[in-house]
């Protein structure tokens, strides 16, 4: 029980600016094992940037990160901003975080199976045979076992996104990060991807998800965070954020999205 309560991810006071534009103005997030946190907000609110700071695809200017039992070490660079001091640590942490992108970002020169085993074999140095076995099981789970020898270009958007979920799962991530996983899909393909994400939530995976699918966020999240202009405007269980938001802006946003 004690172990269960220990947070998989603690991120505190994240700041990020591009030039004079302040995108993140001190965002904090804590996720316990099994939490599903949805981040919502209008475009430009900083939700994708925040998600990308968690696996350091964007380097935050400031903030403290405790991920997967490790504190991320920072040093102050010549520009006066803080940078992660150990690239190897960042790489190690990233391989424990499964990222799913809006635009899938499968590697087009590899088959679906090769895409999925790439990280286990080359980053985690898992034995190839074991990696293939696991990858095939994951592909079966997302309904793409028959497509394992195909190249990404021959798959639909929904299939590509399911493949990229399998790719992210194949490193046994402690936390899954979803960056608007359905925003680039044709409407009729959204359902099949959400179904896969829902099944992951149901098996108790820790997930952080930036999304515009309000109904879905309400259904699967344990917590919802509403961002506005780089700050947390509202955070709480979905019943509160969607049902009885205290912030006026959040109320407005929910109302605009519900019809």
């Amino acid at each position: 029980m004690r172990l269960e309560a220990r947070p998989a991810l603690v991120v505190k006071d994240v700041h990020k600016s591009y030039g004079t534009l302040k995108v993140l103005k001190g965002i904090s997030l804590e996720a316990a094992k099994g939490d599903v946190v949805s981040i919502i907000g209008s475009s430009g609110s900083g939700k994708s940037t925040f998600l990308r700071c968690i696996n350091f695809l964007e380097i935050p200017d400031q903030g403290s990160f405790h991920i997967n039992g490790e504190d991320v070490e920072f040093r102050t660079g010549r520009d006066g901003k803080s940078h992660p001091s150990n690239p190897r640590q960042i790489e190690r942490l990233r391989s424990g975080l499964g990222m799913v992108f809006q635009s899938f970002n499968l590697w087009p020169h590899m088959t679906i199976l090769q895409n999925v085993i790439e990280a286990p074999v080359h980053v985690l140095k898992v034995e190839r045979k074991a990696a293939i076995e696991k990858a095939e099981a994951l592909l079966a789970k997302v309904g793409l076992y028959e497509k394992r020898e195909s190249y990404p270009a021959f798959l639909s958007g929904g299939q590509q996104q399911r493949a990229s979920i399998a790719r992210a799962l194949c490193v046994d991530p402690a936390v899954m990060l979803f960056d608007e996983p359905t925003s680039a899909l044709d409407p009729e393909l959204v359902g099949e991807v959400l179904k896969v994400i829902r099944s992951l939530a149901e098996e108790g995976r820790t997930m952080i998800m930036v999304t515009h699918e309000m109904k879905f966020a309400r259904d699967v999240s344990t917590r919802v965070m509403f961002l506005h202009q780089g700050q947390v405007e509202e955070v709480g269980p979905p019943s509160q954020v969607f049902g009885a938001p205290t912030s006026a802006r959040c109320k407005e946003f929910i109302a605009a999205g519900s019809h």
Partner: protein
């Protein structure tokens, strides 16, 4: 049309054809290897390497191959004997041959063009694919080796085919530094037999055939990863 000379001159022709193929293969393979470094240096963060690679490509793309060849053959060639230790080394017999300087010039020239093309295709790889590689924990060198470079090379394949064909047709220039390539053989046959056209026609047919072969090889490479058009 008189092609009766083919039999008596078969050895000269065959050796010439082999030399042409050898120069092509050597300059393309070595030139490509150098081009990878030139391209990476140009898109990399190190300003010294970037300027060096850029200058190299500008110089070799900005001067005629003939002048490069002569600069290397007459210029570099005449200084080599003064480099201590070189004259006694096992490389020396090789370095006295025009063939050596021809291979060097063709390689350096090909590397410059190829380096510039690869620079462009490296930049053409979608950033998201590289982010996906970083996101699974790859270190930058692995991203380059596993994703960035293979993708850039595939994007550039149709252009590379054209470059190799151009390179094939640049090779006869080596005859100007005494290398008896296929064109050199044809030249000698014309001198001996006083035939004007026939040797040239044979040589032209050979270049066409080789071009066809190169096209086929690249077609196969391109088909290795099926793409939907």
């Amino acid at each position: 049309m008189d092609f009766s000379w083919i039999i008596p001159y078969r050895e000269l022709l065959l050796n010439g054809a082999l030399l042409t193929c050898m120069l092509l293969v050597i300059s393309v393979v070595l030139g490509f290897a150098i081009a990878i470094f030139l391209a990476i240096a140009q898109v990399g963060n190190n300003p010294v390497l970037r300027v060096a690679a850029k200058s190299y490509c500008t110089f070799f793309r900005g001067t005629p191959l003939l002048i490069q060849l002569w600069l290397i053959y007459y210029g570099l060639g005449s200084y080599l004997p003064y480099i201590p230790g070189l004259k006694g080394s096992f490389l020396w017999p090789l370095m006295r041959e025009g063939l050596f300087f021809a291979a060097v010039a063709l390689t350096l020239n090909f590397a410059a063009y190829q380096g510039e093309i690869l620079r462009g295709t490296l930049l053409a790889v979608p950033k998201g694919e590289l982010e996906a590689a970083l996101a699974v924990g790859m270190r930058p060198s692995m991203v380059l080796r596993r994703i960035w470079l293979p993708r850039a090379i595939r994007i550039g394949l149709p252009t590379f085919a054209g470059e190799v064909i151009l390179q094939l047709k640049a090779t006869p220039i080596v005859f100007s530094v005494t290398v008896m390539d296929l064109y050199g053989a044809a030249y000698k046959i014309r001198q001996d037999t006083l035939l004007v056209y026939e040797p040239l026609i044979l040589v032209a047919a050979f270049y066409v055939a080789l071009t066809f072969l190169i096209t086929q090889v690249f077609q196969r490479l391109e088909n290795a990863v099926p793409a939907r058009r």
